[in-house]
């Protein structure tokens, strides 16, 4: 049987789903974490042997969708005929939640109500008479605390017992024309009237919700337009600093030591066959090892972000950022994809679904990957280590420049699409604060670490192997001789691209090849560089200093510190990996937007790298770097294309607008 989990946003559906199935789907303390449907069999210890599949759905306030992800839920319960619905009710907000409950009860599918967050109610002294509520709703009502796995067995037992039965609705909406908005709204008011009476009879509250509490005082500070933003910047800086400058590299150093020992051991085993040794020890172990070596940095960041997401802070950040984001044509809710984007771009782009306005949603999906994701951390750490002595400012600048590019990009999108004045409202529920669970953050971190290692052992490994082979052989499939590296397959393919990159300061084919493999997965930039230059202990700058130093890496790559920074920024702000581009495609639902996004990202990466390289070189040496004029021409062409697109859109826009006017006039 299939059991659908439906309820208001942030009522704990995914927490319950994870507990029942043993999965680790993303959870967080704000409304709209789950934006798609997920299903998985429930553990048999809960079902008593019956085969049952749990279907986790995005949160919804009612059967009438307001944002795209709400539509997934109403469509599923209406059209897919699950065998039972577990309606997770936020018991701390019974009077709002039961509105949706009574709608679910009308579908005829057996419903079990789980009164979740019972622990908070007990703490606050709210009493709910679940027996009486159960009688009135004609369905089982069970108190649960999903975070502590309390009551879950009873919920599933009740759902299993109802398999095959039908549901009698306690409240039926009058037969009305569902297309008549006023009639629907009038019926919704009546439904709320019924719910209000119901709640009066079954609920007793010790504390009135409208009373000012301690958390209101915390909110006042966190959402203060000035202090709140400073706090947010400080918190994010703290996360990046701990994970990438302090604790992360400390653990990574230790890990890299073991990877090196392993690599040497592999090489010694294959000493007899130098070619195989090169391919396996340098190509596979070296390339993958270079990526895995950065794992501690990524893990620590995931852990800290998970803590942030769990405590209830994210909704406050959205609120405090809303006025700023609104000014550039985005929404306060755009903050959430941006913070999720520090982990991975794919879920970040999917999280844009909770943004109601289509233009704001698409623009956010287009821009949120400017924030460096977890896969870009190795790239940042590599360059910070090899060229800047591990300086903390490199990673900080990378993130804050990403944020600045989001703002600038949003302004550009606003200008190009011809901003028409439209009311864009912001409303977001402030969830109750909770002490973040270390166990949950740990689990989430391990889950992501597993995914990272799997990726390194599959995609990255294969790419490194291919890169290694393409570098080892020329087009006649003969091993490339020393000094003839430019004739390898890889070199001949990458060289034309490298030519385009000369104005940016990094015209070497190895660097171009690394940037290209980066589109498959950003970790590949590090993997490919490791393979091409035969270097592994990138992160261990101290060790490099002993063996000739970070300078050796720098010299091998033929980069100055300025062009190294340009190369880093180029890789950070060009289009994300193919997976993220794919998810951009499915969220934007528009070819035009998708290609504009890719084009914008390519131009941004190019322009940022160009400016950093040319002006950086100007400041350090007194003259522009090579290729200044060709680069300038390239940038001018990009600007021209943007202007042309903008003109076209605006002309179209005016046309559409005048059509509207004509239609209105003819109606009148």
């Amino acid at each position: 049987m299939r059991i659908a989990f439906a309820g208001n946003p942030n009522s704990g559906k995914t927490t319950m789903y994870n507990a029942l199935t043993g999965r680790s789907e993303k959870v967080g303390n704000w409304g709209g974490v789950t934006v798609g449907m997920k299903e998985y069999p429930i553990k048999s210890e809960y079902t008593g042997g019956t085969e049952a599949i749990a279907v986790d759905l995005p949160g919804a306030y009612s059967m009438s969708p307001f944002t795209p992800e709400e539509g997934i839920t109403s469509e599923y319960v209406r059209d897919e005929h699950p065998d039972a619905i577990v309606n997770i009710v936020d018991a701390t907000n019974l009077s709002r939640s039961l509105f949706f409950t009574t709608q679910l009860l009308e579908l005829g599918i057996p419903v079990v109500v789980a009164l979740n967050k019972d622990d908070i109610n007990q703490k606050e002294g709210t009493k709910i008479d679940e027996k009486s509520l159960s009688q009135k709703l004609n369905c089982p009502v069970i108190k649960t605390t999903a975070t502590e796995q309390k009551g879950l067995k009873d919920v599933i037992a009740a759902a299993v017992a109802l398999n095959g039965k039908s549901q009698k609705a306690p409240y039926l909406q009058a037969d009305i024309d569902l297309h008549d908005k006023n009639a629907v709204d009038a019926e919704d008011r009546k439904r709320f009237g019924y719910v209000n009476d119901l709640v009066k009879n079954v609920e007793e509250r010790a504390v009135k919700s409208s009373e000012t509490t301690k958390s209101d005082k915390v909110d006042a500070v966190l959402t203060n337009p000035i202090v709140g933003i400073i706090i947010f910047a400080a918190v994010m800086f703290g996360v990046f600093w701990v994970s990438q400058t302090w604790l992360g590299p400390l653990v990574a150093d230790w890990l890299v030591g073991y990877i090196n020992i392993f690599q040497e051991w592999v090489a010694s085993q294959l000493e007899a066959t130098p070619l195989l040794s090169t391919i396996i020890a340098d190509g596979i172990v070296g390339g993958v090892g270079a990526v895995v070596g950065f794992l501690p940095l990524v893990m620590i960041m995931y852990f800290l972000i998970a803590l942030l997401e769990d405590c209830g802070y994210m909704a406050r950040v959205s609120a405090v950022m809303d006025p700023i984001f609104k000014r550039v044509g985005l929404s306060g809710k755009s903050v959430i994809p941006i913070v999720i984007g520090t982990g991975c771009g794919v879920p970040a782009i999917m999280a844009c679904r909770t943004i109601r306005d289509e233009r704001e949603r698409r623009a956010t999906a287009m821009l949120c990957t400017f924030i460096p994701c977890g896969a870009k951390i190795p790239v940042i750490a590599l360059f910070a280590g090899a060229f800047f002595n591990g300086a903390a400012w490199v990673s900080t600048v990378s993130y804050f420049l990403g944020l600045a590019l989001i703002f600038l990009g949003a302004l550009l999108v606003k200008a190009v699409t011809g901003y028409k004045y439209r009311k864009s409202f912001f409303i977001m529920e402030f969830p109750k604060y909770k002490v973040p669970s270390l166990g949950f953050a740990f689990k989430s971190m391990m889950e992501r670490a597993k995914a990272y290692i799997i990726k390194a052992a599959t995609i990255i490994l294969i790419c490194n192997l291919v890169v290694q082979l393409m570098q080892t052989y020329n087009w006649q499939f003969q091993v490339v001789e020393e000094g003839m590296e430019n004739t390898s397959i890889l070199a001949t393919i990458a060289s034309p691209f490298a030519f385009l990159l000369i104005p940016l300061g990094f015209g070497a084919w190895q660097l171009a090849a690394a940037a290209i493999t980066g589109f498959i997965a950003k970790e590949n930039v590090v993997g490919t560089l490791a393979v091409c230059y035969g270097l592994t202990s990138f992160i261990d700058t101290e060790e490099l200093a002993l063996t000739g130093g970070a300078n050796e890496v720098a010299a091998a790559m033929g980069l100055t510190t300025v062009s190294a920074l340009a190369y880093l920024f180029f890789n950070l702000y060009t289009p994300p990996c193919f997976a993220a581009i794919g998810s951009m495609n499915s969220e934007m639902k528009s070819r035009g937007w998708l290609w504009s996004a890719i084009g914008l990202q390519l131009c941004t990466g190019y322009a940022v790298a160009f400016l950093v390289n040319q002006f950086g070189t100007l400041f350090t040496t007194g003259s522009f770097a090579s290729g200044f004029i060709p680069g300038l021409i390239a940038i001018a062409l990009m600007v021209l294309v943007v202007v042309l697109i903008s003109r076209k859109i605006r002309a179209h826009f005016d046309e559409e607008y005048s059509l509207h006017q004509a239609a209105k006039a003819s109606k009148a």
């Binding site: 306030y61 009612s62 009438s64 307001f66 701390t92 907000n93 019974l94 009077s95 709002r96 509105f99 908005k181 629907v184 709204d185 919704d188 008011r189 709320f192 919700s209 409208s210 009373e211 000012t212 209101d216 909110d219 006042a220 959402t223 203060n224 337009p225 909704a315 406050r316 959205s318 609120a319 809303d322 006025p323 609104k326 009311k423 864009s424 409202f425 912001f426 409303i427 977001m428 529920e429 402030f430």
Partner: protein, 74 residues
Amino acid sequence: MEENKNLLQADLGVTYNVKKIDTEDPDMNSFLLRLGCYEGEPVTVVSKKKKSCVVVIKEGRYSMDNLLAEAIII
């Protein structure tokens, strides 16, 4: 004193009844209705900022921008 005020003019911590909601966006009006914010229902403003405020609707707290708060007449 039966003058109509909007939520921005509400006193902090005082519970008012909603008289009218008009955001000029029918879907937004319906969304507020489904949160429990409609004619006759109590609302309380717990804090005000320059561009937004925190409003208690039913048992939940919501941050809304002033544009939306202005459209809620109490």
